[in-house]
């Protein structure tokens, strides 16, 4: 009651300025409360649900396994085995199998094999401009899929929630929601995202597939694509295209929760395997916490001489039945 008398005191002091009737005061208070509620509700109203259209699919997927454990998909790439398919005399088979299996439009490579210099840290690449790059000595090959970061910079910047990390730890893109602003491409520190700059050069066959964020088909113009980590295939008990096609069995795919991964030849216990071979993650210092682990090497287990350079250029299945009006574009060079 003390406070009430204080208010009376104030209103007595300044009767002219506080010439507000009780009715008006109640109205004002009501208005202020309504405004406050509205502001509080606004973030909730405007915040994106984690992918409205496909929420049902995820519910089914997670419900089906709710009796079991929630999968935490991961990948180990053993660089000691990767020779960039030099011994095969073919283009990198992981990239080609992915391109064919996913109808990846040219010139995207959802998993790309980069040739790194051995003398440099993985995180510090080509610090000089192209004109001053020193001659390459020993190199290693590094197949680079989407790292499936658990603190994904692309997810953090997407304005519309068109890319998000699933409960299984995979970052996916909803191309039906993507507005094509390419903020995620600027944010990705691994440069694993690609844009369909024109009508994509893919086959008609892909157009008959029902759209799902887990396989990203059919490919549309003006949106962003990337490696989806093949969750559908994993759920069906199959390895992704890249892992199953690797002639050296360098790519292991598995489940952190079950602590098992396989390259199609052997099954390893993930925690032991990673510790035993001092596995690392790409650009670990950025704290993006990728789900892709590397075991360092330069193809020595495949018998590669680190001074033999280069891979053969990869191919896409663009010779099939390309759509009318499809464009061919290259990356910036």
């Amino acid at each position: 009651m003390e406070s009430h008398s204080d208010i009376d005191q104030v209103s007595d002091d300044k009767p002219k300025n506080w010439d507000i009737s009780r009715r008006k005061m109640i109205k004002m208070l009501g208005g202020a409360t309504a405004a406050g509620l509205a502001v509080g509700y606004l973030p909730k109203a405007l915040r994106a649900e984690p992918v409205a259209e496909n929420a049902a699919d995820f519910q089914v997927a997670t419900d089906a396994e709710s009796s079991e454990r929630l999968r935490q998909w991961m990948m180990i790439i053993d660089l000691r085995r990767c020779d960039g398919c030099q011994s095969q005399g073919t283009p990198p088979q992981c990239t080609e199998a992915c391109n064919m299996g996913h109808f990846v439009p040219k010139p995207m490579q959802w998993i790309e094999v980069y040739e790194h210099e051995l003398s440099r840290d993985v995180g510090e690449i080509a610090p000089l401009d192209s004109s001053t790059t020193p001659p390459i000595e020993g190199t290693k090959f590094m197949p680079t899929p989407c790292m499936q970061c658990q603190n994904a910079p692309c997810v953090n910047v997407c304005p519309v929630g068109a890319t998000w990390t699933t409960p299984e730890g995979i970052t996916l893109i909803d191309q039906n929601r993507c507005i094509g602003c390419r903020m995620c491409m600027a944010a990705c520190p691994y440069e694993r995202r690609s844009f369909t700059w024109g009508e994509p050069p893919t086959s008609h066959a892909a157009d008959f597939v029902e759209h799902s964020v887990e396989h990203q088909l059919p490919i549309q113009k003006g949106v962003v694509y990337k490696c989806d980590f093949c969750p559908e295939m994993a759920r069906a008990g199959r390895l992704p295209f890249c892992a199953s096609s690797c002639p050296q069995n360098a790519i292991y795919y598995g489940d952190l929760e079950e602590d098992l991964a396989s390259n199609g030849d052997e099954v390893v216990r993930v925690s032991e395997f990673l510790a035993e071979h001092s596995a690392f993650r790409h650009k670990e210092e950025l704290r993006t916490r990728p789900r892709v682990y590397y075991i360092d090497g330069h193809g020595e287990l495949a018998g590669r001489d680190p001074k033999t350079h280069g891979t053969m250029p990869v191919r896409w299945n663009i010779d099939l039945d390309i759509k009318d009006g499809a464009k061919n574009w290259e990356r910036s060079s």
Partner: protein, 449 residues
């Protein structure tokens, strides 16, 4: 000729009614550019961003460069009009109207550059439907809309008494469209003391509100870049760097507008050399701070030359970005500063040239920030290059023409010099003093003014 309130009112109202041959020709030419831009944009909508020079790796190009530039250009209006109003600087009076016009027009143009850059502009509504508060782009969209709304309210409050003046003076002589506009928007303003008091209070509130909103907008725009992990953009200095850069180019753009408006509308009596020189001081101040930032950024990064920032320094110093970078440093920063420091170039022409160079420089700066940041190779390959295509250049030309067209239309809707503010600040007497002094010295300055 005396420069009384009466003559100012007559001059501004006459300028509104007069459509010179040059005005009409420029209007037609600029409209043609806008149409060309629309045609190019329709082509881009059909074929996708394939029509541009952007590709994977360099994923943003001229559109984002121009977006950042126009956001920056809008700052000058708020700074000159609102910040100088807060500081009670009387000399802003004949400039503030044009400055406010530039803010509104530049923000509108900037928002269109975002649409030009989007892969799916028709899905822009998704930002409202599914907007995530975590995304810097959402901050930018809400910030931009707040800023546009705020500066339009601010402009309207400031222009209201002048609209009433036009209505009372020449309302019956105007063409039906403008008569309707003036009658509708002058909103039964009579100049009654109660109205004046209400308007004064609202203007004061808006002045205090709009300055932090503008600073917020430029900071948030810098955060589109600053919130990524790319080394050249990954800097806590980016916010303030963009704010000062925006003041620099914004002040410059207002000087250009002042000069053209003065010539077109014969406002020499009310926009004197003193106003240009004061703007020159602001320009020099902002330019000096830019040089300071540039040095502190380059020296601290250049001493250590660590990782990816070394790449950025090399590309700026003698790599692919070097021509742009050094033109920016010398033509965009040093020469304008020198022009303002040397006494014999401290003239209207000197300020005008410095302002044009400052804007060229800031456009180049936005270019090497955006393109240079994206050139950084994140994987082992040679740093890529970017070249805008004809489609991009046409759309940019169209939108820049639209920016000028909006200014030209606004100039004919209301007095281009705020009569009310001139009287309120006492600037009307100050310009008379300028005229007397110019007449008495009868020197070169008198001839220019």
């Amino acid at each position: 000729m005396t420069y009384s309130t009466e003559s100012l009112e007559r001059a501004t109202v006459e300028a509104m009614q007069r459509f010179s041959k040059r005005y009409i020709i420029s209007f037609i030419v600029l409209s043609a550019f806008v149409v060309a831009g629309i045609v190019a944009y329709i082509n881009q909508l059909q074929n996708g961003l394939y029509e541009t020079g952007m590709r994977d790796r360099i994923t943003w190009g001229l559109y984002i460069v121009m977006f950042v530039f126009f956001i920056g250009a809008s700052m000058g209006g708020t700074f000159v009009s609102a910040a100088l109003r807060l500081a009670d600087m009387g000399w802003r009076a004949p400039i503030s109207r044009g400055a406010e016009y530039i803010t509104v027009s530049a923000l509108f143009t900037a928002s269109l550059f975002i649409f030009a850059d989007m892969g799916h502009p028709e899905r822009a509504i998704n930002i409202l439907l599914f907007g995530r508060w975590e995304s810097p782009l959402v901050w930018d969209v809400y910030g931009l809309n707040t800023y546009i709304a705020g500066s339009m309210v601010y402009l309207y409050l400031a222009v209201l008494p002048d609209l009433a003046l036009v209505r009372d003076r020449v309302g019956h002589q105007l063409d039906p469209i403008r008569r309707l506009f003036v009658i509708m928007f002058s909103a039964s303003w009579t100049g009654h003391p109660k109205q004046v008091k209400a308007l004064d209070t609202s203007l004061k509130v808006m002045t205090v509100v709009i300055v932090p909103v503008a600073v917020m907008m430029h900071t948030v725009t810098s955060w589109i870049f600053g919130m990524t992990l790319r080394e050249p953009w990954d800097s806590p200095m980016f916010g303030i760097y963009f704010v000062v850069g925006a003041v620099y180019s914004g002040v410059g753009l207002i000087v250009v507008f002042m000069y053209v408006m003065r010539r077109m509308n014969h406002m020499e009596a009310f926009l004197t050399e003193r106003h240009f020189l004061n703007m020159g001081k602001l320009l020099a101040g902002a330019g000096g701070v830019m040089i300071f930032f540039q040095i502190s950024d380059l020296v601290t990064a250049g001493f250590k030359l660590k990782g990816d920032s070394a790449f950025n320094l090399y590309q700026l110093a003698d790599g692919a970005m070097a021509p742009i970078f050094w033109t920016y440093i010398w033509v965009g920063l040093m020469i304008p500063l020198a022009l303002m420091l040397l006494p014999w170039t401290r003239t209207i022409w000197g300020v005008l040239i410095a302002s044009v160079l400052a804007n060229v420089g800031m456009m180049l700066e936005r270019y090497f920030i955006v393109i240079g940041g994206l050139r950084l190779p994140l994987n082992p390959y040679h740093a890529p290059s970017y070249m805008p295509t004809l489609t991009e250049l046409t759309i940019v030309l169209g939108l820049c023409s639209l920016f000028i067209l909006i200014l030209m239309i606004m100039m004919k809707l209301a007095p281009a010099i705020s009569v009310q503010e001139m009287i309120e600040t006492g600037e009307i007497e100050a310009v008379q003093h300028d005229a007397r002094r110019a007449a008495s010295t009868d020197g070169p300055e008198g001839a220019v003014a």
